[in-house]
Subunit: 346 residues, 4 copies
């Protein structure tokens, strides 16, 4: 397909972004061209927008950013096997190499040569995006565009929550941004018996309750460790899902964990963090799991089944839907923290 | 049994220990009285001897300390089921409650109400010790007394090493005190393909090579992270067994781990420690396991089979054997660090 | 406690049972005497009642049978630690030895020296039963007596269902007696995305739908294998929970399993059974798990949490409640198969 | 490459094979052409040679059969990424689709659309074979050609042995053809404490002892179940590796398994087989695993490390090496059963 399209670009190595007309990308023989219908905003996008230290070290300009999206296939390379124009897809945004030790042993989510859409190559904040067929994820056309676009970050929650037992376990979710909120919901639909949600923002905490938290704790008002110990009879929780990246929350997470429990770490601390390894991990016999990306593609199959069976309404977490042209407004809302997921439509 | 026995006591809340005559302990209906034949010295004993902050907070005086031992049953309470005088035993030193959540769900090694021999009740640096039958571990009479006494600390190595796959995995053991040395040996007999031993003391490093390390690294001379990456083709090791408790070594351990690898943390840092959670655990998709005590009693069955089949010569790690009366000398040798395991005989 | 009580006895080695007055059992120092409030009937009880080949080989007379029950502690031996008269309890009916390899390595549910209540020693079809404190399971007094008594068989369903992943998995439950019905319910509350129930009795099949089955199949009317393959797009189910013990159903279970799936076998075939190991297990890369009893006591903690959180209404499965004196009627109803669980009250 | 090559063909649907000149295969853009240096014979090849019922139902003629091989890359398609002419390779013989549920969730070894070399497309009993780069497994040029060619069947043993714990476990290997013999060796190098080998052929049984079996049992002379129970103190073995496919051996395997043990089933029974599910799997709480193919590619990485570290001498299992032209003789030797692995050279 020839022609121009609107896209949100990092034109140069500086904060901000530019909405401009650029060439519609060309596709290789195993790629598909997707007309973007909805794209949601990730914390990573905000780092790129703000051009923080991480973005400066990783992203080369010019670059179309954005990676959470869904849209319609409008063109397919001649070696594409399963997709045809008209198919509706989202995408696994980690393009894995397929050759490294991790890829060849079932751990592609930590591929050593990963290329990330919207970070290492052009992304989804645009009218069209070219992606390899291998990362396209066919999605039912009956699925709402916004919901389809948020399957990717939802997958992070799926990955973090299910890396251990949940049914009849007590769970504490630290940090109730979109991923934390979904983790609350996933815990609920999978039989967790008690679900603590810990979050300083009142709106998000209310959303956590709506998602199924049985005990919502604002850590500015109540000590979550004490509350959790009180409610669990001094035992602590079986599972901590750390979604905040906040040093204090991470330490509280460990303190509220029961001996022999499991911590899934997903939230990214922005710097080194002090931990009491002896008391919080070693004597406790804890299992600590680093959670990166999604299990490719088990996470996506689970997500599909959740959508098809209607187990969880992912949309509850979307608080704002704006036209793509208002990307700057969207970024401002993100920064305020007074939101769940923000979706842009095209 | 009535009468007096020699014992090493913490008489009062101060550094040091006193060898004195005290009453032979009386036994309850489900206890056995064991005549100690050999007792080895643990780092914990040194903390008690030195009366450090931890010891002050935990140990009440007077207290006979010491917990790694083996000996002969000389008396059995009337409800003892399986043991009779003449049996040779070692002991699991964690007397677990049997009632807590952890005990009742197969995680007794992190029992919430554990009583530790030689810490919370009188221990093994004495001619006799009374223990519940439930922690006594029958040992073949053909087993050397010294070897029988070190089954307990050896069990820590067994627990740490086998909490994940070892066969054809690359392993890095940080810290080559006795437990680290055994971990090297266990990795070797279980099919690890490459075994790195990292240890600043030259004698211990030589012992690690004798135990089967394929690459011995003195971190004062060579950067272990770089060396490990070089030898593993940039991949890093599949498994890190952290036996040092040293902050720098712990951080190096994480840096030398491959994406998707496993870390068993056993060495106890003496204070809080800074970690790069984002890069070393989260993005890496690492699994971090706190290792406390021994799996009760799977670890002991494994140990029995290792001894019976002659897979590993535990004795290689014993560098000093002294009569019990020389406990002060033994403590001095321990402090020098120029030793493997020290065993006292009775 | 002295005196007489009513009990259902196998007086002699022949079919049937006698309700008679016998001595109230005396208790040992670590036992409790429980006044039975409700006792439910297990298939095993029917085998004993009918005096089939298995019963003849295992049960010695005279014997009070019955093992699923709940009641009030009325007397406690002097070494009982946690229970006091007035406590309400159910019981794990497998009295494990605590000494065998399995007991000492976290597999007490397959203890080699197990004694089963109501089979190897006197059971619960009586006004009072003496049990070791170690198998008593404290239950909230607010729990309905009938529900408390069925925790034991419910635990079989818990054990079978949770020996592998359930969330977002497709599950087929073969055989919808009480345990199968609960397995359907447990699958539902734990996030299974599709739940097939296969059962020839229409009443039971309707109950399965009420418990949450998304597709109820009467194998006399529809081929369950074909139906399952159709609905799963030819893939087969991730999980088969075999609760029938019926040879044909077992073979259908394997045929309806997807490549790489899991089968939990709980239903007991009465004789040898022919299987196509090559196609149904080996080429399929299947995992087949024998399910015996309950995980002691993880299963019970899960059950407690299900009751406390109200996740599942166990009572839905109870179709008949009769006074204990009508045990013969109860047995007749059991034999008809036209029932869920039958509970006798005292 | 143009020209003719010698190949062993099934020219028509009848027993036997024809050595003839055929066209050297042409390669696609992602294929490599490999000059075969060594090819070993699998039981599957004998089924094809003999044209048994399975072969008739699966194999279309004309077909070059054979799939265990190693050789030198002589030509690479223009989209081949990692291989160049001169590389020495073996191959995973299961060409998986990459698109099915199993392939996309880490279970490619049970791919639903697998194409097997030498079965579903032309194989390795020829001077040249064309294979997709995706199944080529680079092998060190220093590795003996014969050893390189048997990596594939060796991988079956790796897969079966390591699907559960081996270190300090007792293992019984039923059937000591090449895969069984390697399973004995793998058990030994991975720390199994007792290794039973059960095999009626004396030569093979002697080879099992040479590979490390600690107790060799000829089931025509001694009852293996009784012997195993005697030596394990009545417990039974922790692990059964079933490599025979023989109904009697399979049943003995289950009877010799301890309560709570694991069975890996690899040997293929030729028809339905009667099992005592109640006693041998259900009451026993056994875990039964169907083993098909190799874990792709974890098994291969393990194999590489075994070869590189010299942990096991795979060659011990090779009893005959013949020039390819003597394929008919090789098949006769195979049928006699008086052999380990047979390798043909080119």
């Amino acid at each position: 397909m020839n022609g121009k399209m609107k896209a949100a670009l990092k034109v140069e190595a500086a904060p901000g972004a530019t909405v401009a007309l650029v060439d519609i990308p060309t596709i290789g023989s195993r790629d598909v061209l997707v007309q973007v219908k909805a794209a949601s905003i990730c914390g990573t996008d905000m780092h790129i927008y703000d051009w923080d230290a991480w973005a400066q070290s990783r992203v080369q300009t010019p670059r179309i950013f954005g990676h959470e999206f869904a849209g319609e296939v409008v063109e397919a390379g001649h070696e594409v096997v399963e997709l045809v124009p008209g198919d509706f897809v989202a995408a696994e945004t980690h393009i894995t190499c397929g050759h490294c030790y991790q890829c060849r042993t079932g751990q592609a989510h930590v591929c050593r040569n990963v290329q990330i859409l919207g970070v290492d190559r052009d992304g989804a904040f645009a009218e069209y995006i070219a992606i390899p067929e291998s990362v396209a994820w066919k999605t039912g056309k009956e699925i709402d565009h916004s919901v389809a676009s948020i399957q990717e970050p939802f997958g992070n929650a799926v990955h973090a929550t299910y890396e251990g037992e949940i049914a009849q376990r007590t769970v504490a979710v630290y940090g109730c941004g979109p991923i934390g909120l979904w983790a609350v919901g996933l815990s609920r639909i999978s039989g967790a018996s008690t679900i603590f949600a810990i979050e300083p923002n009142h709106k998000r905490l209310d959303m956590a309750t709506a998602m199924g938290a049985t005990c919502a704790i604002n850590p500015r008002e109540v000590d979550p460790v004490q509350r959790i110990l009180d409610i669990t009879g001094g035992l602590g929780v079986d599972v901590v899902l750390e979604m905040s990246g906040h040093p204090g929350a991470i330490r509280q997470g460990f303190k509220s964990l029961r001996y022999g429990g499991r911590v899934s770490l997903l939230g990214l601390p922005s710097s080194m963090i002090e931990l009491d390894l002896a008391n919080d991990i070693i004597f406790k016999g804890a299992t600590v799991l680093g959670i990166s990306g999604r299990n490719i593609f088990d996470t996506w199959y689970r997500t599909r089944r959740i959508l098809e069976s209607g187990q969880l309404d992912l949309k509850q977490v979307i608080t704002h839907t704006l036209p793509f042209e208002r990307i700057h407004d969207a970024m401002e809302i993100m920064k305020s923290g007074d939101c769940g997921k923000i979706v842009m439509t095209f």
